[in-house]
């Protein structure tokens, strides 16, 4: 893929872009139109139902894309396990089709991690031989795969994952407004996170195993590393001031250019957002928020990080809730004998563990204001 930031392309994302790459493939990728057709009548398209209804011809990719998006969301849940916003299922809806969702910091993260997950899984499955043409990028060279593969090898699987992942995930943004542009930017940031965390590994294989000849390759990092990387980017996410953009662009026709202009000032690896996050303490079903009531938090355990140690304060106290201790009997396996796969011979042990949950305070009005103030601080 090209290395230069090509933001005009994101802004003016249209059908011709998709058509170009699908000509030679045995299993042609969907054109924008087919995707559009599939989506019709679907009020709230999520990654899953979009893919399930996809044309049969490109089913080869769909399961990978699907599980990729899923692994992205799982990682999101892990990363935000002790945050007020804990990556609920409703966040799965990637498209801006649903007018309710706004481009908050959290949405930015979901977009990035999903795009990263899709690219990651596509890359991985490509190495498993799941796809016919992975790696050998015929479209670029313009020759049949055979000769170039023998002459100089094919491009990396990561490039393949990036290309196909881009086609799938970015196709979900069908609008041309500023929010779509921001989402596309965050998708791109997610894919770049995969590339940024790649590990370079080398092997020497010269005369008598000396290093006179050395071959190096890039290896996918653990997906957790990508999650950690994007979490840092989330903490540093930049806000786009929409008012300024509107001011610069007098009418709607210029709007797109103005967005592209603004986006080009932001590094492609950074996450961006437009709207402040809502108060995640509060339950607000119209926004799809469940609040922090009933959430578990961590207290008085060994080996906790600073962020985890404060989880009870963050989730409960600051939201005007109290911490409730519950004793839970868990049946877990212990004294196990493991094989490397599948077989575990265990004894069952019953343990009583203390767990902490956020619960409503009986008489509370004051703490609520307190939380508001905190919330405000956080968003600043």
């Amino acid at each position: 893929m090209s290395d230069k930031p090509d933001l005009t392309e994101i802004a003016s994302f249209d059908k011709t872009k998709l058509k170009k790459t699908e000509t030679k493939e045995k299993n042609p990728l969907p054109t924008k139109e087919t995707i559009e057709q599939e989506r019709k009548g679907d009020a709230t398209p999520s990654v899953n139902n979009f893919l399930m209804t996809g044309p049969k011809a490109y089913l080869t990719y769909t399961s990978s894309v699907q599980s990729g998006a899923q692994s992205g969301i799982e990682e999101c849940k892990h990363q935000f396990a002790w945050d007020r916003w804990n990556c609920p299922e409703s966040a799965l809806q990637l498209s801006t089709h649903n007018g309710l969702r706004s481009a908050t910091k959290e949405t930015a993260f979901v977009h990035a991690i999903s795009a990263a997950g899709v690219m990651y899984t596509l890359t991985k499955n490509c190495s498993m031989g799941d796809f016919d043409n992975c790696g050998c990028d015929d479209s670029k060279i313009g020759k049949m795969g055979g000769r170039d593969w023998v002459w100089g090898g094919c491009s990396d699987n990561v490039d393949f994952g990036e290309r196909i992942g881009k086609q799938f995930v970015d196709a979900l943004e069908n609008a041309h407004d500023s929010r779509a542009a921001v989402n596309l930017h965050n998708n791109e940031a997610g894919r770049l996170a995969v590339k940024a965390t790649l590990k370079r590994t080398c092997k020497c294989h010269g005369v008598s195993g000396s290093c006179s000849i050395q071959t190096c390759w890039m290896q996918l990092a653990d997906f957790r590393d990508i999650g950690n990387y994007l979490k840092i980017k989330y903490d540093q996410a930049q806000k786009l001031e929409m008012d300024k953009i509107r001011m610069r662009a007098g009418n709607s026709a210029d709007n797109r250019g103005a967005i592209a202009d603004t986006l080009s000032n932001v590094a492609r690896t950074e996450l961006i957002y437009m709207a402040n996050s809502p108060d995640y303490c509060m339950k607000n079903l119209s926004l799809g928020l469940h609040g922090t009531e009933g959430r578990e938090c961590l207290q008085s355990m060994k080996n906790l990080s600073q962020w985890e140690k404060r989880s009870c304060r963050r989730l409960c106290h600051e939201c005007g809730l109290k911490v409730e201790e519950r004793k839970i009997e868990t049946v877990s396996s212990c004294n196990c004998k493991f094989h490397w796969c599948c077989t575990v011979k265990c004894e069952t042990c019953t343990q009583t563990v203390k767990k902490y949950f956020c619960a409503k305070r009986n008489k509370s009005r004051r703490p609520h204001n307190h939380s508001r103030r905190r919330q405000h601080k956080r968003n600043r």
């Binding site: 031989g129 790696g135 795969g145 590994t201 071959t215 080996n303 493991f338 490397w340 077989t343």
Partner: protein, 562 residues
């Protein structure tokens, strides 16, 4: 008579020996011609860099494979069953091991299958070799950690076929042990369950020729609790393989280069030997060693690899190593002997046995490396999965060989540096005495000094180039973009350095060959020296008798080296 102090009569024999090499082309050539030769050689040098940098692709390609987890449902007793990861008759596979646990599939029924190459590609004989590296993805589990010194035992099978519908033919079958060297970088707490260990790359397989189109690997990790086989190796999630092979394009460029270089070195070698035999005296040691260097260079150059395209010669890799080893040993010996023969300390040398102290380490070191190579690549001819590094004894043995070879190399370089130092000390000693010498003697020493300094300079330049380029390729990412061109740095390194040492040997044989011009024009000049001291008469007579009038030619006409 200052000269007597430096050259007492007792050392006359040494004197004559040193003089035998005198009168090489380099001394007799005019500066202008020398510059022209230099420029031509530099052009060829630039050309050899460009061939690699612009035409050839990168030298090797690494392809990633993720093993497909196949289920051997009935634990087939028939050994012939092969498990295909994809394609028409692919095995019944599972995505992950949670699925296996749910279906009550045991570890012994799981076969990891890898097809090389990926779908819709074919392997080619142009790839020359293929080595495969293994990596386990082992998830950290607080209750199921990797034990210290855990060893993975694998039942591996390799098969090939040449057409997509054909039967698989077994190439190798072996039970292999690999030591897991994994560490977990984050804290070992339950929250980090599921993160992967960072494991060292494990050498897995190496084949010396890629003569088939399709290869299939089936790997099992059998568990035996009683024998403690594959117990305590953690929770394996995936097996990743990386196969490395030489790019076909690079092979072609490389072969073309070898095919071009072979005749050029061969021709100059024959020409050089003819020159030597034309002389009345037998060749001296230095001339012989230069010729031997030429032979070893030709030996590397001869493109026998062409056969590997048509035949399944797995020993080609080993053969290539041996050829390179011989050349390196020859080059190192040559440097020592060249220094020794230019020492100018009036000791009789001209015999290889004199240099045993210096050449001994080279021979011994190369022998160690040869044994090591035979243990690794030699055994791999029989069992491609063999690795000397896999077992503790093997690792110790291999390390021992390499350390001994390293010590030999250090010893050699100490000797070499000492000799170079000695030469320079003697040179400066001679320098001060030069004006007081007779003309013949002076020219003789000036010639020696010039020859030595020239070779010293060229050698240092070549060595420096090699080292610099080597570092660049190690540090760099493989290719540079230069305008519209992509320059493959490592390919340029290989072709450029290879071309350079070829040119080095070529230049050596050309410039250090006995000069042609001496025939005929020398006799008259002998008389010029008649009036000198007895010692000098002695010197000139030896020259005239043994080596013809080379020295005298110089006296009459040669000033180029100044």
């Amino acid at each position: 008579m200052d000269a007597v102090i430096f050259f007492p009569f007792t050392h006359r024999t040494a004197e004559t020996v040193a003089l035998k090499m005198a009168g090489a082309i380099i001394e007799n050539m005019s500066t202008k011609k020398l510059v022209i030769v230099g420029v031509i050689l530099l052009l060829f040098q630039a050309f050899s860099f460009m061939v690699g940098g612009l035409i050839a692709p990168s030298p090797t390609t690494a392809v990633h494979y993720l093993a497909t987890k196949c289920v051997d449902a009935v634990k087939t007793s028939e050994k012939d069953e092969w498990f295909m990861p994809w394609g028409p008759d692919q095995c019944s596979k599972i995505r992950d091991f949670e699925e296996a646990t749910a279906k009550r599939i045991e570890a012994n029924n799981i076969v990891f299958a890898v097809h090389i190459p990926l779908p819709h590609r074919e392997m080619s004989a142009w790839f020359q070799f293929m080595l495969v590296i293994l990596q386990f993805d082992i998830a950290f589990k607080t209750h199921n950690q990797i034990e210290d010194g855990a060893m993975a035992t694998m039942d591996v099978r390799l098969a090939y076929r040449d057409d997509l519908m054909g039967q698989w033919t077994e190439m190798a079958h072996s039970i292999e042990h690999r030591k897991l060297n994994c560490n977990f970088t984050t804290s070992k707490t339950p929250e980090n369950d599921g993160r992967y260990y960072e494991c060292d790359l494990l050498p897995f397989m190496e084949v010396g020729s890629v003569s088939h189109k399709y290869y299939l690997l089936n790997i099992r990790l059998p568990v035996n609790e009683r024998k403690k086989v594959n117990i305590g190796i953690g929770e394996i999630k995936d097996i990743r393989l990386v196969s490395i092979h030489q790019n076909g394009g690079f092979t072609k460029v490389w072969f073309a280069m070898k095919t071009f270089l072979t005749p050029s070195i061969l021709i100059i070698m024959i020409w050089y030997w003819k020159r030597i035999t034309q002389m009345t005296r037998p060749p001296v040691l230095l001339e012989k060693i230069i010729f031997a260097l030429g032979i070893s260079m030709t030996f590397i150059n001869i493109p026998v690899e062409w056969f590997s395209v048509g035949f399944d010669w797995t020993w080609m890799l080993l053969f290539g190593d041996i050829r390179q080893g011989i050349f390196y040993a020859m080059l190192l010996s040559f440097w020592i002997i060249f220094c020794g023969e230019h020492l100018m300390d009036q000791t009789e040398r001209n015999r290889l046995s004199v240099y045993w102290k210096q050449v001994g380490p080279i021979v011994f070191g190369s022998f160690c490396l040869f044994i090591f190579d035979m243990c690794e690549r030699g055994v791999q001819l029989k069992n491609p999965f063999y690795s000397i590094w896999a077992s503790d004894v093997g690792t110790e043995l291999a390390m021992a060989f390499i350390i001994v070879a390293g010590i030999c190399a250090c010893l050699y370089f100490l000797f070499l540096c000492f000799m170079v130092f000695q030469v320079f000390r003697n040179v400066s000693g001679k320098r001060s005495a030069l004006p007081a010498m007779t003309k013949a003697r002076r020219l003789h020493y000036e010639g020696l000094i010039f020859r030595f300094k020239f070779l010293m300079l060229v050698t240092l330049a070549c060595a420096a180039m090699t080292v610099i380029f080597f570092i660049i390729t190690q540090v760099n990412e493989g290719h540079w973009h230069w305008g519209g061109y992509t320059v493959q740095v490592s390919s340029a390194f290989f072709t450029g350095i290879y071309g350079m040492w070829n040119l080095y040997v070529f230049a050596l044989m050309f410039l250090y060959a006995p000069s042609h011009k001496r025939y005929g024009d020398g006799q008259s000049s002998v008389g010029d020296q008649g009036g000198n001291s007895g010692e000098d008469i002695q010197l000139t007579t030896t020259i005239t008798h043994v080596d013809g009038p080379t020295e005298i030619y110089k006296m009459t006409g040669k000033e180029a080296q100044e």
